[in-house]
Symmetry: C2
């Protein structure tokens, strides 16, 4: 075999030999099963050291291009039609399985909105969008010190795997907080999760399979709808009025659709801000029990109440094992902490803990320990009281700005707590179409269509998050929103 | 209506009235649709203020026991057969749906082992169990300072939701590290996850549904097996030899079972410690491509190599979109951090990012930012070099202790890297049965049965994690293990 080698080159000789052979094999010039010369022979042919040839062969063999069999020589292997790695320039064609992926949770509208927001030229935009309360209210410095203390105190333990169910002292604190809200749950029935989103996801993926029916309030939390759609569930909506889910319609839907789960947000429902009445709560539990359907109760801001009397949590009315309760520190504290929890009784608790361990082993131990140190019951309730004071004023500012600036026929659910005002604009105003006008004016909101199960078209709803902005900003933002409406639909005023 | 009230009692009058009516309603003495007296009338009857009666009625109404209709009076509602909340003493009977829960991932053996370990009386146990490397090697103080700096630098931003795909600078760092290992991936094709376990879970749950077939190496990573079983997948195993998965058997299995995914650990396979040969890697990709099956490549410790030449990652050989690559910082750094990642190209990347956002919105932003600050490419590689030096010595100590203390017929795969030695003891030694003897002697290991798909009984295998213990402890631990074997099976020596 004659291989052109260049003794003046910077490329080592063995690399030159390897390269030549590699190109021959990949191009097919050296056909599969071709026997290569023995190293001794090729070394003599080329006038190089035998080790040089051996190194070249070793590289090719390691890459699966040739194969040396003791006693019988070295052979070219079939190239298996492999192309070199494409790097970042890779473009299709993608394999067939990639061309046929499920894509049930439609995010095109969300993506469009994020694009509009990111392209906004406004120097001082005011956001009533999103589900997060005011980050400026979180005591970052205090929390930083808590993390320091925990790392000094616990050392490496804080960075090892923690318990599957979650850090036991934090589960104890959560049980205390729940008890102060009338929910009696043992810490052994609490499972700490990566935010309440993971809790929703675990429960749904564990209890339901593709094609199963889930009952939800209509409208409801958009990222729960997205999850359910992405899992291929059939989503059936129950309308909401001032007293929350219209439980009167439940039995008919249970008989018709045989759902595997009822997902409900009884307090300050997202997005409508309504609270389920006590009577409906009892009736809901009774019906779910009779029809053998589990209830997933999402109590994401149940204690952010500004006035009126709290209803008992569904979990507090649960005769045992009927309701899976979930909540979170994300809304009250900081969303980036990613710590929420679920509470469940009966065999489903162990099954969910087990399923969680297979999903992500454990939730960040360090953050759990820091939270446990940070969130005493007293501090939690003090923070809650202050939050209620601040947010009540913002709610009031939002209500009066809605009255002052929105078109005459606008309907609004006046929320007694939580983060959101839910508006129904006159029928001829599409909030989807309004959105780009609003962004241009420097204000944003969540279009109502995000919150309805697919197929319901309710384009004249919008959700306004009043908790992030000061009363002054609320006033200014709503003026801008009015300008956007006048711009798009001057007849509406 | 005559209600006995006690004016000397500490219980407020309205509470006494409420209690009396509540008991009447719940006992059925006050039947549904009974009309209650008007507040004015009952107040006069009882000689109390009308507001007192109004408050009692309001409480009952809020709890859904009565209902007042303007103009027509106040009525008792049907009680909906609700029992009071049972508190922590709740015992069944659980609702039917709870009695019929799937429980596919069998954890009874894992639970038993954890129980044995927790009950161990040994004063100084030595663990070769678990999949974690030595926590003492992690620079806790350095990491603590990094977290401080990040919180000072980024303030509240570090505690807000981050980007769905993960913190962009960290994705950049990961892309650099991957490039240094020969894998060319754009940061835009990297998705940061809560450890590699979440990456496995997302890919599997997104691409497969209950009843689908997954091909895995046999043996393989136990928590992946647990996940697959819990998801109701059909698990088909391909045997492993010194060169990793026996890809020669793959085509037959593909034709017979039509799997939807191939899960493989090509480097330092868990538990066997073997590396897939270059030829098999190419053949695997080629076959998967021809049969339109995605490959999930779990490269959990691919760069912990103590000797020999690294094979290219499957991802580096991927002609585009065939391989989903996952890895983690957990093994190299600290498992409690819960940060791993996947790399994928083609439409599946966006789908997985979307699916992840519905699963837990985002991964802890603070920890991602701290990692990004902490893990420069240079520091990572320095840490890697030191780890390799330390672990190589431990591997050598383990190999010689196996030679010195294990029964004569023991087979061992000599690993060129990674964390594990994989032993096959003589056929008549069950490692499941050996485990309690070993714990009694003060040593533990992972029984081999954890790592085989259900149905394969290979009780004479065991996995030893050598990376957690010093050479001296390894020597001592293996002496103890020998004692346990002699205790249980004196004939085996």
């Amino acid at each position: 075999m004659r291989i052109p080698i260049d003794r003046q080159s910077d490329t080592p000789l063995y690399r030159q030999i390897e390269k030549f052979l590699r190109e021959g094999i990949l191009s097919g010039n050296l056909a599969p099963d071709t026997r290569l010369p023995a190293t001794r022979k090729l070394a003599r042919d080329l006038g190089v050291n035998r080790i040089t040839v051996g190194n070249a062969y070793a590289e090719l063999e390691a890459d699966g291009l040739i194969c040396s069999q003791v006693g019988s020589g070295t052979y070219v292997l079939p190239p298996w039609q492999i192309q070199p790695a494409p790097g970042a320039e890779a473009v299709g064609p993608w394999p067939l399985w990639q061309q046929d992926l499920r894509r049930r949770g439609d995010t095109s509208k969300r993506d469009l909105i994020l694009k509009l927001l990111s392209e906004s030229q406004h120097p001082d935009p005011i956001s009533f969008a999103g589900g997060v309360s005011d980050p400026q209210r979180f005591p970052v410095d205090e929390f930083r010190k808590v993390i320091q203390n925990v790392m000094r105190r616990d050392g490496i333990t804080a960075l090892e795997y923690g318990e599957v169910r979650g850090y036991a002292p934090l589960r104890g604190t959560i049980a205390h907080i729940l008890a102060s809200q009338g929910v009696q749950i043992s810490p052994d029935n609490i499972l700490i999760t990566a935010g309440s989103q993971q809790a929703i996801s675990l429960v749904t993926q564990f209890l339901l399979k593709q094609g199963d029916v889930i009952l939800v309030e209509s409208p409801t939390y958009s990222d729960a709808l997205g999850l359910f759609a992405d899992l291929g569930l059939k989503i059936i909506g129950i309308p909401v009025d001032e007293d929350g889910m219209q439980v009167e319609q439940l039995e008919g839907l249970l008989l018709q659709h045989h759902p595997k789960l009822i997902y409900t947000i009884p307090n300050f429902q997202n997005p409508s801000g309504t609270c389920m009445s006590g009577q409906r709560r009892r009736r809901l539990i009774s019906l779910a029990d009779r029809h053998n359907v589990p209830i997933l109760e999402d109590d994401y801001v149940g204690d952010l109440r500004y006035e009126g009397r709290a209803q008992p949590a569904l979990k507090a009315l649960d005769p045992g094992g009927r309701v899976i309760y979930i909540s979170t520190f994300s809304k009250m504290l900081m969303p980036g902490l990613r710590v929420g929890f679920l509470a469940a009784e009966g065999p489903v608790y162990d099954s969910l803990a087990n399923f969680k361990s297979f999903n992500d082993l454990t939730t960040s131990n360090l953050i759990q320990r820091a939270l446990e140190d940070f969130v005493t019951v007293g501090r939690y309730q003090a923070h809650l009281r202050r939050s209620c004071q601040v947010f009540r004023k913002r709610r009031d500012a939002m209500m009066s700005a809605i009255h002052d600036y929105m078109p005459r026929d606008t309907q609004v659910f006046a929320p007694q707590g939580g983060l959101f005002a839910w508006l129904r604009l006159p029928d001829n105003i599409s909030c989807d179409k309004l959105f780009p006008y609003a962004v241009e004016e420097g204000v944003s909101f969540s279009p109502g269509t995000f919150f309805f199960p697919e197929g319901s078209s309710n384009e004249n709803f919008m959700r306004l998050n009043f908790s992030k902005q000061t009363p002054e900003k609320i006033q200014e933002g709503m003026m801008r929103l009015r300008k956007a409406i006048d711009h798009m639909a001057p007849w509406a005023g």
